[in-house]
Protein backbone atom coordinates (compact mmCIF):
# COMPACT_ATOMS: atom_id res chain seq x y z
CA UNK A 1 0.00 0.00 0.00
CA UNK A 2 1.21 3.46 -0.83
CA UNK A 3 1.80 6.09 1.83
CA UNK A 4 -0.21 9.28 1.47
CA UNK A 5 2.14 12.25 0.66
CA UNK A 6 0.38 14.07 3.48
CA UNK A 7 2.20 11.80 5.92
CA UNK A 8 5.55 12.97 4.53
CA UNK A 9 4.55 16.60 4.92
CA UNK A 10 3.38 15.88 8.43
CA UNK A 11 6.77 14.30 9.18
CA UNK A 12 8.58 17.39 7.91
CA UNK A 13 6.27 19.54 10.02
CA UNK A 14 6.80 17.58 13.24
CA UNK A 15 10.57 17.36 12.77
CA UNK A 16 10.73 21.09 12.04
CA UNK A 17 8.94 21.80 15.31
CA UNK A 18 11.70 19.92 17.09
CA UNK A 19 14.41 21.71 15.11
CA UNK A 20 12.72 25.01 15.97
CA UNK A 21 12.52 24.05 19.63
CA UNK A 22 16.24 23.36 19.97
CA UNK A 23 17.37 26.23 17.75
CA UNK A 24 15.25 28.80 19.56
CA UNK A 25 16.40 27.70 23.01
CA UNK A 26 19.96 28.41 21.91
CA UNK A 27 19.08 32.00 20.98
CA UNK A 28 20.61 34.39 23.48
CA UNK A 29 17.95 36.32 25.46
CA UNK A 30 19.46 39.65 24.45
CA UNK A 31 18.50 38.87 20.84
CA UNK A 32 14.87 37.96 21.51
CA UNK A 33 13.56 41.11 19.84
CA UNK A 34 15.51 40.48 16.60
CA UNK A 35 14.32 36.86 16.84
CA UNK A 36 10.73 38.05 16.73
CA UNK A 37 11.28 40.42 13.83
CA UNK A 38 13.17 37.82 11.80
CA UNK A 39 10.57 35.10 12.43
CA UNK A 40 8.07 37.66 11.25
CA UNK A 41 10.00 38.15 8.06
CA UNK A 42 10.47 34.47 7.30
CA UNK A 43 6.85 33.56 8.02
CA UNK A 44 6.04 35.91 5.15
CA UNK A 45 7.31 33.19 2.83
CA UNK A 46 3.54 32.78 2.57
CA UNK A 47 4.07 35.16 -0.37
CA UNK A 48 4.76 31.96 -2.34
CA UNK A 49 1.08 31.07 -2.01
CA UNK A 50 0.08 34.65 -2.71
CA UNK A 51 2.02 34.67 -5.98
CA UNK A 52 0.38 31.43 -7.13
CA UNK A 53 -2.99 32.94 -6.25
CA UNK A 54 -2.22 36.21 -8.02
CA UNK A 55 -1.15 34.49 -11.24
CA UNK A 56 -4.17 32.23 -11.32
CA UNK A 57 -6.19 34.67 -13.43
CA UNK A 58 -6.10 34.40 -17.22
CA UNK A 59 -4.52 36.98 -19.49
CA UNK A 60 -7.79 38.79 -20.36
CA UNK A 61 -8.83 39.03 -16.77
CA UNK A 62 -5.86 39.35 -14.46
CA UNK A 63 -7.87 40.62 -11.53
CA UNK A 64 -10.68 38.14 -11.00
CA UNK A 65 -12.33 37.70 -7.63
CA UNK A 66 -9.84 35.02 -6.60
CA UNK A 67 -6.59 36.55 -7.84
CA UNK A 68 -7.32 39.96 -6.34
CA UNK A 69 -6.95 38.39 -2.89
CA UNK A 70 -3.66 36.95 -4.07
CA UNK A 71 -2.40 40.37 -5.11
CA UNK A 72 -3.45 41.92 -1.80
CA UNK A 73 -1.65 39.13 0.04
CA UNK A 74 1.46 39.75 -2.09
CA UNK A 75 1.55 43.39 -0.99
CA UNK A 76 1.00 42.51 2.69
CA UNK A 77 3.66 39.81 2.68
CA UNK A 78 6.09 42.10 0.84
CA UNK A 79 5.70 44.77 3.54
CA UNK A 80 6.64 42.13 6.07
CA UNK A 81 9.54 40.65 4.13
CA UNK A 82 11.26 43.96 3.44
CA UNK A 83 10.26 45.54 6.74
CA UNK A 84 11.13 42.47 8.80
CA UNK A 85 14.55 41.75 7.34
CA UNK A 86 15.61 45.39 7.17
CA UNK A 87 14.58 46.24 10.71
CA UNK A 88 16.35 43.11 11.94
CA UNK A 89 19.46 44.15 10.05
CA UNK A 90 19.21 47.61 11.58
CA UNK A 91 18.90 46.20 15.09
CA UNK A 92 21.67 43.65 14.72
CA UNK A 93 24.04 46.32 13.42
CA UNK A 94 23.68 48.07 16.77
CA UNK A 95 24.91 45.18 18.90
CA UNK A 96 28.55 45.96 19.48
CA UNK A 97 31.23 44.54 21.73
CA UNK A 98 33.16 46.62 24.21
CA UNK A 99 36.05 48.46 22.56
CA UNK A 100 39.36 47.04 23.67
CA UNK A 101 41.14 50.38 23.98
CA UNK A 102 40.98 50.44 27.77
Amino acid sequence: MEIDPLIFRLSIFILSIFVGYYVVWSVTPSLHTPLMSVTNAISSVIIVGAIIAGLSGNSENIFNDSSIFGFLAIALAAINIFGGFLVTQRMLAMYKKKKKDK
Partner: protein
Amino acid sequence: MISANLSAIFYLVSGVLFILALRGLSSPETSRQGNLFGILGMIIAITVTFLSIGNFSTGFIYVLIFILIGGSIGAFIAYKIPMTAMPELVAGFHSLVGLAAVFVAISAFLNPEAFNLGTSGNIKLGSLIEMSIGAAVGAITFSGSVIAFLKLQGIMSGSPITFKGQHPLNAIILISIVVLIYLLCSTQSSNLFWILIAVSFLIGFLLIIPIGGADMPVVISMLNSYSGWAAAGIGFTLENTALIITGALVGSSGAILSYIMCKGMNRSFFNVILGGFGATDQTSSSKNKDQRPVKSGNADDAAFLMKNASSVIIVPGYGMAVAQAQHALREMVDTLKKNGIKVSYAIHPVAGRMPGHMNVLLAEANVPYDEVFELEEINNDFANADVAFVIGANDVTNPVAKTDPQSPIYGMPVLDVEKCKSVLFVKRSLSPGYAGIDNDLFYKENTLMLFADAKKMTEDITKNL
Protein backbone atom coordinates in the same frame (compact mmCIF):
# COMPACT_ATOMS: atom_id res chain seq x y z
CA MET B 1 9.35 26.21 -16.24
CA ILE B 2 11.10 23.86 -13.84
CA SER B 3 9.84 20.50 -12.68
CA ALA B 4 7.83 20.09 -9.51
CA ASN B 5 10.54 17.90 -8.00
CA LEU B 6 13.28 20.43 -8.62
CA SER B 7 11.25 23.27 -7.15
CA ALA B 8 10.44 21.13 -4.11
CA ILE B 9 14.18 20.70 -3.55
CA PHE B 10 14.73 24.45 -3.77
CA TYR B 11 11.92 25.06 -1.28
CA LEU B 12 13.68 22.64 1.04
CA VAL B 13 16.91 24.61 0.61
CA SER B 14 15.17 27.83 1.54
CA GLY B 15 13.62 26.11 4.59
CA VAL B 16 17.12 25.07 5.71
CA LEU B 17 18.39 28.62 5.19
CA PHE B 18 15.61 29.87 7.47
CA ILE B 19 16.73 27.41 10.16
CA LEU B 20 20.27 28.78 9.80
CA ALA B 21 18.89 32.33 10.10
CA LEU B 22 17.49 31.50 13.54
CA ARG B 23 20.58 29.54 14.45
CA GLY B 24 22.70 32.64 13.79
CA LEU B 25 20.91 34.47 16.59
CA SER B 26 22.69 32.35 19.21
CA SER B 27 25.29 35.10 19.43
CA PRO B 28 25.46 38.70 18.22
CA GLU B 29 28.59 37.95 16.14
CA THR B 30 26.89 35.34 13.97
CA SER B 31 23.49 37.05 13.91
CA ARG B 32 24.14 39.37 10.97
CA GLN B 33 25.25 36.47 8.82
CA GLY B 34 22.13 34.59 9.95
CA ASN B 35 19.94 37.41 8.73
CA LEU B 36 21.61 37.22 5.31
CA PHE B 37 20.82 33.50 5.18
CA GLY B 38 17.20 34.39 5.84
CA ILE B 39 17.16 36.92 3.02
CA LEU B 40 18.80 34.42 0.66
CA GLY B 41 16.20 31.80 1.60
CA MET B 42 13.42 34.24 0.79
CA ILE B 43 14.93 35.17 -2.59
CA ILE B 44 15.25 31.49 -3.51
CA ALA B 45 11.65 30.74 -2.50
CA ILE B 46 10.22 33.63 -4.52
CA THR B 47 12.38 32.98 -7.60
CA VAL B 48 11.52 29.29 -7.63
CA THR B 49 7.82 30.11 -7.40
CA PHE B 50 8.07 32.31 -10.50
CA LEU B 51 10.04 29.67 -12.37
CA SER B 52 7.68 26.86 -11.48
CA ILE B 53 4.66 28.81 -12.68
CA GLY B 54 6.63 29.81 -15.77
CA ASN B 55 4.11 32.43 -16.77
CA PHE B 56 5.90 35.68 -17.49
CA SER B 57 2.93 37.50 -19.02
CA THR B 58 1.20 40.66 -17.84
CA GLY B 59 0.25 38.99 -14.55
CA PHE B 60 3.92 38.66 -13.73
CA ILE B 61 4.43 42.42 -14.13
CA TYR B 62 1.55 43.06 -11.75
CA VAL B 63 3.05 40.69 -9.17
CA LEU B 64 6.31 42.63 -9.34
CA ILE B 65 4.43 45.91 -8.98
CA PHE B 66 2.64 44.67 -5.85
CA ILE B 67 5.90 43.36 -4.38
CA LEU B 68 7.46 46.74 -5.09
CA ILE B 69 4.59 48.64 -3.46
CA GLY B 70 4.62 46.45 -0.35
CA GLY B 71 8.40 46.35 -0.29
CA SER B 72 8.82 50.12 -0.35
CA ILE B 73 6.24 50.56 2.41
CA GLY B 74 8.06 47.93 4.47
CA ALA B 75 11.51 49.40 3.83
CA PHE B 76 10.27 52.88 4.66
CA ILE B 77 8.81 51.68 7.98
CA ALA B 78 11.95 49.71 8.80
CA TYR B 79 14.18 52.76 8.44
CA LYS B 80 11.86 55.27 10.10
CA ILE B 81 10.69 53.33 13.13
CA PRO B 82 12.24 54.37 16.46
CA MET B 83 13.62 51.47 18.49
CA THR B 84 11.27 52.28 21.37
CA ALA B 85 8.35 51.42 19.06
CA MET B 86 9.58 47.89 18.28
CA PRO B 87 6.71 46.16 20.16
CA GLU B 88 4.09 48.02 18.13
CA LEU B 89 5.95 47.30 14.91
CA VAL B 90 6.19 43.59 15.60
CA ALA B 91 2.50 43.42 16.56
CA GLY B 92 1.64 45.27 13.36
CA PHE B 93 3.75 42.90 11.26
CA HIS B 94 2.08 39.88 12.87
CA SER B 95 -1.30 41.20 11.85
CA LEU B 96 -0.11 41.41 8.23
CA VAL B 97 1.09 37.79 8.20
CA GLY B 98 -2.28 36.76 9.62
CA LEU B 99 -4.23 38.72 7.03
CA ALA B 100 -2.04 37.45 4.18
CA ALA B 101 -2.79 33.88 5.33
CA VAL B 102 -6.52 34.64 5.29
CA PHE B 103 -6.31 36.13 1.78
CA VAL B 104 -4.36 33.19 0.40
CA ALA B 105 -6.88 30.79 1.92
CA ILE B 106 -9.80 32.77 0.43
CA SER B 107 -8.13 32.80 -2.96
CA ALA B 108 -7.52 29.05 -2.78
CA PHE B 109 -11.12 28.46 -1.76
CA LEU B 110 -12.51 30.53 -4.62
CA ASN B 111 -10.21 29.10 -7.26
CA PRO B 112 -9.00 25.66 -6.13
CA GLU B 113 -8.06 24.64 -9.69
CA ALA B 114 -5.11 27.05 -9.64
CA PHE B 115 -3.69 25.22 -6.63
CA ASN B 116 -4.50 21.66 -7.79
CA LEU B 117 -6.93 21.20 -4.94
CA GLY B 118 -9.90 19.90 -6.90
CA THR B 119 -12.71 22.01 -8.31
CA SER B 120 -14.85 24.73 -6.81
CA GLY B 121 -17.53 23.19 -4.62
CA ASN B 122 -15.65 19.92 -4.66
CA ILE B 123 -12.35 20.63 -2.93
CA LYS B 124 -10.31 17.71 -1.63
CA LEU B 125 -11.24 17.06 1.99
CA GLY B 126 -7.68 17.24 3.36
CA SER B 127 -6.99 20.53 1.60
CA LEU B 128 -10.25 22.01 2.80
CA ILE B 129 -9.46 21.16 6.42
CA GLU B 130 -5.95 22.61 6.05
CA MET B 131 -7.09 25.83 4.42
CA SER B 132 -9.89 26.42 6.90
CA ILE B 133 -7.50 25.94 9.82
CA GLY B 134 -5.02 28.28 8.11
CA ALA B 135 -7.74 30.86 7.53
CA ALA B 136 -9.12 30.62 11.09
CA VAL B 137 -5.72 30.89 12.77
CA GLY B 138 -4.72 33.66 10.37
CA ALA B 139 -7.85 35.63 11.18
CA ILE B 140 -7.28 35.22 14.93
CA THR B 141 -3.69 36.38 14.48
CA PHE B 142 -4.85 39.40 12.50
CA SER B 143 -7.51 40.76 14.83
CA GLY B 144 -5.55 39.82 17.97
CA SER B 145 -2.46 41.63 16.69
CA VAL B 146 -4.48 44.68 15.74
CA ILE B 147 -5.75 44.93 19.33
CA ALA B 148 -2.22 44.36 20.70
CA PHE B 149 -0.97 47.08 18.34
CA LEU B 150 -3.65 49.56 19.45
CA LYS B 151 -2.91 48.86 23.12
CA LEU B 152 0.84 49.25 22.68
CA GLN B 153 0.45 52.39 20.61
CA GLY B 154 -1.74 53.86 23.35
CA ILE B 155 -4.68 54.37 20.98
CA MET B 156 -6.57 51.88 23.12
CA SER B 157 -6.24 51.85 26.91
CA GLY B 158 -3.70 49.31 28.15
CA SER B 159 -5.91 48.32 31.06
CA PRO B 160 -7.73 45.00 30.77
CA ILE B 161 -11.30 45.06 29.47
CA THR B 162 -13.37 42.43 31.22
CA PHE B 163 -17.09 41.72 31.35
CA LYS B 164 -19.33 39.12 32.84
CA GLY B 165 -19.58 35.85 30.98
CA GLN B 166 -16.43 36.59 29.00
CA HIS B 167 -14.85 33.17 29.38
CA PRO B 168 -17.99 31.14 28.60
CA LEU B 169 -18.58 33.35 25.55
CA ASN B 170 -15.02 32.74 24.29
CA ALA B 171 -15.39 29.02 24.89
CA ILE B 172 -18.65 28.92 22.91
CA ILE B 173 -17.06 30.79 20.01
CA LEU B 174 -14.04 28.49 19.97
CA ILE B 175 -16.30 25.44 19.90
CA SER B 176 -18.39 27.00 17.15
CA ILE B 177 -15.22 27.43 15.05
CA VAL B 178 -14.58 23.69 15.26
CA VAL B 179 -18.21 22.96 14.38
CA LEU B 180 -18.07 25.39 11.45
CA ILE B 181 -14.95 23.69 10.07
CA TYR B 182 -16.71 20.34 10.33
CA LEU B 183 -19.85 21.61 8.57
CA LEU B 184 -17.79 23.38 5.94
CA CYS B 185 -16.00 20.14 5.11
CA SER B 186 -19.24 18.22 4.73
CA THR B 187 -21.16 20.86 2.73
CA GLN B 188 -18.42 22.85 0.90
CA SER B 189 -20.67 25.86 1.34
CA SER B 190 -18.95 29.18 0.70
CA ASN B 191 -21.28 30.95 3.14
CA LEU B 192 -19.94 28.81 5.96
CA PHE B 193 -16.42 29.69 4.88
CA TRP B 194 -17.15 33.42 5.22
CA ILE B 195 -18.86 32.90 8.59
CA LEU B 196 -15.84 30.93 9.79
CA ILE B 197 -13.52 33.80 8.92
CA ALA B 198 -15.81 36.40 10.54
CA VAL B 199 -16.13 34.39 13.75
CA SER B 200 -12.35 33.89 13.86
CA PHE B 201 -11.80 37.65 13.56
CA LEU B 202 -14.20 38.10 16.45
CA ILE B 203 -12.50 35.60 18.75
CA GLY B 204 -9.05 37.09 18.08
CA PHE B 205 -10.42 40.42 19.20
CA LEU B 206 -12.16 39.00 22.29
CA LEU B 207 -9.10 36.99 23.35
CA ILE B 208 -6.78 40.00 23.55
CA ILE B 209 -8.96 42.77 25.04
CA PRO B 210 -8.88 41.36 28.61
CA ILE B 211 -5.07 41.25 28.67
CA GLY B 212 -3.31 44.21 30.27
CA GLY B 213 -0.43 46.32 28.97
CA ALA B 214 2.42 44.75 30.94
CA ASP B 215 1.39 41.26 29.85
CA MET B 216 2.08 42.30 26.27
CA PRO B 217 5.38 40.37 26.14
CA VAL B 218 3.35 37.17 26.43
CA VAL B 219 0.70 38.32 23.97
CA ILE B 220 3.21 39.34 21.31
CA SER B 221 5.07 36.04 21.64
CA MET B 222 1.80 34.14 21.47
CA LEU B 223 0.67 35.96 18.33
CA ASN B 224 4.11 35.30 16.87
CA SER B 225 3.43 31.63 17.44
CA TYR B 226 -0.07 31.85 15.89
CA SER B 227 1.27 33.53 12.76
CA GLY B 228 3.59 30.54 12.40
CA TRP B 229 0.80 27.98 12.73
CA ALA B 230 -1.30 29.91 10.21
CA ALA B 231 1.59 29.83 7.74
CA ALA B 232 2.05 26.10 8.34
CA GLY B 233 -1.67 25.50 7.71
CA ILE B 234 -1.41 27.27 4.35
CA GLY B 235 1.84 25.38 3.70
CA PHE B 236 -0.04 22.07 3.97
CA THR B 237 -2.70 23.33 1.57
CA LEU B 238 -0.12 24.40 -0.98
CA GLU B 239 2.02 21.31 -0.34
CA ASN B 240 4.96 23.65 0.08
CA THR B 241 7.91 22.48 2.19
CA ALA B 242 9.40 25.94 2.75
CA LEU B 243 6.13 27.17 4.20
CA ILE B 244 5.65 24.09 6.39
CA ILE B 245 9.19 24.27 7.80
CA THR B 246 8.94 28.00 8.41
CA GLY B 247 5.53 27.73 10.01
CA ALA B 248 6.80 25.08 12.41
CA LEU B 249 9.91 27.13 13.25
CA VAL B 250 7.99 30.33 13.89
CA GLY B 251 5.25 28.50 15.77
CA SER B 252 7.66 26.84 18.19
CA SER B 253 9.75 30.00 18.51
CA GLY B 254 6.74 32.03 19.63
CA ALA B 255 5.64 29.28 21.98
CA ILE B 256 9.05 29.16 23.66
CA LEU B 257 9.15 32.93 24.04
CA SER B 258 5.68 32.90 25.65
CA TYR B 259 6.91 30.23 28.04
CA ILE B 260 10.02 32.25 28.97
CA MET B 261 7.91 35.36 29.54
CA CYS B 262 5.38 33.51 31.72
CA LYS B 263 8.20 32.03 33.76
CA GLY B 264 9.65 35.52 34.20
CA MET B 265 6.37 36.53 35.85
CA ASN B 266 5.83 33.23 37.67
CA ARG B 267 2.38 32.93 36.12
CA SER B 268 0.87 30.14 34.14
CA PHE B 269 0.14 30.68 30.47
CA PHE B 270 -3.59 30.31 31.11
CA ASN B 271 -3.50 32.82 33.90
CA VAL B 272 -2.11 35.41 31.47
CA ILE B 273 -4.42 34.46 28.61
CA LEU B 274 -7.56 34.55 30.72
CA GLY B 275 -6.50 38.10 31.54
CA GLY B 276 -7.78 40.70 33.93
CA PHE B 277 -4.51 40.85 35.90
CA GLY B 278 -3.83 44.25 37.39
CA ALA B 279 -7.46 45.31 37.20
CA THR B 280 -8.25 44.08 40.71
CA ASP B 281 -8.49 46.18 43.87
CA GLN B 282 -6.22 49.12 43.16
CA THR B 283 -7.96 50.89 46.03
CA SER B 284 -7.04 48.54 48.87
CA SER B 285 -3.34 48.83 48.15
CA SER B 286 -3.34 52.60 48.11
CA LYS B 287 -4.88 52.97 51.58
CA ASN B 288 -1.83 52.89 53.81
CA LYS B 289 0.51 54.49 51.33
CA ASP B 290 1.19 57.88 52.84
CA GLN B 291 1.97 56.55 56.26
CA ARG B 292 5.41 55.19 55.57
CA PRO B 293 8.38 57.55 55.36
CA VAL B 294 10.23 57.87 52.09
CA LYS B 295 13.62 59.42 51.53
CA SER B 296 13.73 61.51 48.43
CA GLY B 297 16.67 63.30 46.90
CA ASN B 298 17.79 65.35 43.94
CA ALA B 299 20.30 64.93 41.14
CA ASP B 300 23.06 66.34 43.29
CA ASP B 301 22.62 63.67 45.99
CA ALA B 302 22.50 60.96 43.39
CA ALA B 303 25.67 62.22 41.71
CA PHE B 304 27.45 62.33 45.07
CA LEU B 305 26.48 58.73 45.88
CA MET B 306 27.57 57.45 42.51
CA LYS B 307 30.85 59.36 42.46
CA ASN B 308 31.86 57.67 45.70
CA ALA B 309 30.86 54.21 44.51
CA SER B 310 33.22 51.70 43.00
CA SER B 311 30.57 49.67 41.21
CA VAL B 312 27.12 50.62 39.91
CA ILE B 313 24.41 48.36 38.49
CA ILE B 314 21.78 49.90 36.24
CA VAL B 315 18.29 48.35 36.22
CA PRO B 316 16.31 49.63 33.23
CA GLY B 317 12.59 49.06 32.67
CA TYR B 318 9.70 50.11 30.48
CA GLY B 319 9.77 53.62 31.96
CA MET B 320 13.16 54.16 30.35
CA ALA B 321 11.65 53.37 26.96
CA VAL B 322 8.71 55.72 27.55
CA ALA B 323 11.01 58.58 28.58
CA GLN B 324 13.46 57.77 25.73
CA ALA B 325 16.18 57.97 28.34
CA GLN B 326 18.56 55.36 26.93
CA HIS B 327 20.97 57.84 25.32
CA ALA B 328 21.05 60.10 28.36
CA LEU B 329 21.71 57.00 30.45
CA ARG B 330 24.65 55.97 28.27
CA GLU B 331 26.16 59.45 28.65
CA MET B 332 25.83 59.21 32.41
CA VAL B 333 27.51 55.81 32.38
CA ASP B 334 30.35 57.15 30.19
CA THR B 335 31.04 59.83 32.78
CA LEU B 336 30.97 57.25 35.56
CA LYS B 337 33.40 55.05 33.69
CA LYS B 338 35.77 57.97 33.19
CA ASN B 339 35.87 58.20 36.97
CA GLY B 340 36.95 54.58 37.15
CA ILE B 341 33.60 53.23 38.32
CA LYS B 342 32.57 49.78 37.16
CA VAL B 343 29.12 49.81 35.55
CA SER B 344 26.95 46.92 34.43
CA TYR B 345 23.32 46.56 33.39
CA ALA B 346 20.82 44.08 34.84
CA ILE B 347 17.84 43.08 32.71
CA HIS B 348 14.79 41.22 33.94
CA PRO B 349 13.24 38.81 31.41
CA VAL B 350 9.94 40.74 31.31
CA ALA B 351 11.36 44.27 31.40
CA GLY B 352 9.69 46.29 28.67
CA ARG B 353 6.82 45.35 26.38
CA MET B 354 8.39 42.51 24.43
CA PRO B 355 11.13 39.91 24.91
CA GLY B 356 14.57 41.53 24.68
CA HIS B 357 13.13 45.04 24.40
CA MET B 358 15.64 46.62 26.84
CA ASN B 359 18.62 44.97 25.15
CA VAL B 360 17.71 46.56 21.83
CA LEU B 361 17.31 50.00 23.38
CA LEU B 362 20.66 49.76 25.13
CA ALA B 363 22.29 48.52 21.94
CA GLU B 364 20.78 51.51 20.15
CA ALA B 365 22.45 53.80 22.70
CA ASN B 366 25.79 52.12 21.90
CA VAL B 367 25.98 50.15 25.13
CA PRO B 368 28.29 47.17 24.45
CA TYR B 369 26.31 43.96 24.80
CA ASP B 370 28.93 42.35 27.05
CA GLU B 371 28.11 44.89 29.77
CA VAL B 372 24.45 43.82 29.78
CA PHE B 373 23.48 40.83 31.93
CA GLU B 374 20.41 38.67 32.41
CA LEU B 375 18.81 38.14 35.81
CA GLU B 376 20.52 34.84 36.68
CA GLU B 377 23.92 36.12 35.57
CA ILE B 378 23.96 39.24 37.70
CA ASN B 379 21.65 38.68 40.66
CA ASN B 380 24.47 37.65 43.02
CA ASP B 381 26.44 40.79 42.20
CA PHE B 382 23.95 43.17 43.82
CA ALA B 383 25.26 42.26 47.28
CA ASN B 384 28.73 43.46 46.28
CA ALA B 385 27.68 46.57 44.38
CA ASP B 386 27.62 50.04 45.90
CA VAL B 387 24.76 51.62 44.00
CA ALA B 388 21.80 50.21 42.10
CA PHE B 389 20.28 52.73 39.69
CA VAL B 390 16.69 51.72 38.94
CA ILE B 391 15.34 53.60 35.95
CA GLY B 392 11.80 52.91 34.81
CA ALA B 393 11.53 49.47 36.39
CA ASN B 394 9.29 48.72 39.36
CA ASP B 395 7.59 45.38 39.97
CA VAL B 396 10.66 43.42 38.86
CA THR B 397 12.62 44.85 41.79
CA ASN B 398 9.95 44.40 44.46
CA PRO B 399 11.31 42.34 47.39
CA VAL B 400 7.71 41.47 48.31
CA ALA B 401 7.91 38.75 45.67
CA LYS B 402 10.34 36.94 47.96
CA THR B 403 8.85 37.72 51.37
CA ASP B 404 5.06 37.96 51.24
CA PRO B 405 3.16 34.83 50.18
CA GLN B 406 -0.06 36.91 50.05
CA SER B 407 1.27 39.17 47.33
CA PRO B 408 0.01 38.62 43.78
CA ILE B 409 3.58 38.65 42.53
CA TYR B 410 4.89 36.22 45.16
CA GLY B 411 7.32 33.75 43.62
CA MET B 412 8.13 35.88 40.62
CA PRO B 413 11.90 36.01 40.07
CA VAL B 414 13.06 39.54 40.97
CA LEU B 415 16.33 41.41 40.86
CA ASP B 416 17.90 41.56 44.36
CA VAL B 417 18.28 45.31 44.16
CA GLU B 418 17.74 45.82 47.90
CA LYS B 419 21.02 44.02 48.65
CA CYS B 420 23.01 46.94 47.25
CA LYS B 421 24.58 49.38 49.69
CA SER B 422 22.31 52.07 48.31
CA VAL B 423 19.50 52.19 45.80
CA LEU B 424 18.63 55.11 43.57
CA PHE B 425 15.10 54.81 42.25
CA VAL B 426 14.07 57.13 39.43
CA LYS B 427 10.30 57.38 39.24
CA ARG B 428 7.69 60.02 38.61
CA SER B 429 5.70 59.33 41.77
CA LEU B 430 5.05 56.73 44.44
CA SER B 431 2.21 55.19 42.47
CA PRO B 432 2.20 51.40 42.43
CA GLY B 433 3.40 49.55 39.39
CA TYR B 434 1.45 47.47 36.95
CA ALA B 435 0.65 44.71 39.42
CA GLY B 436 -1.16 47.33 41.52
CA ILE B 437 0.97 46.68 44.58
CA ASP B 438 3.25 48.91 46.59
CA ASN B 439 6.97 48.40 46.18
CA ASP B 440 8.64 47.80 49.57
CA LEU B 441 11.87 49.03 48.09
CA PHE B 442 10.61 52.64 48.25
CA TYR B 443 10.62 52.58 52.04
CA LYS B 444 13.95 50.89 52.70
CA GLU B 445 16.60 52.70 54.73
CA ASN B 446 19.09 52.62 51.88
CA THR B 447 16.74 53.76 49.12
CA LEU B 448 16.82 57.26 47.76
CA MET B 449 13.84 58.16 45.59
CA LEU B 450 14.48 60.51 42.70
CA PHE B 451 11.11 61.90 41.66
CA ALA B 452 11.46 63.15 38.11
CA ASP B 453 11.23 62.29 34.47
CA ALA B 454 13.81 59.57 33.82
CA LYS B 455 15.54 61.38 30.98
CA LYS B 456 15.75 64.73 32.71
CA MET B 457 16.99 63.22 35.96
CA THR B 458 19.71 61.26 34.17
CA GLU B 459 20.88 64.38 32.35
CA ASP B 460 20.94 66.36 35.59
CA ILE B 461 22.99 63.69 37.33
CA THR B 462 25.52 63.73 34.49
CA LYS B 463 25.88 67.50 34.91
CA ASN B 464 26.53 67.06 38.62
CA LEU B 465 29.10 64.32 38.28
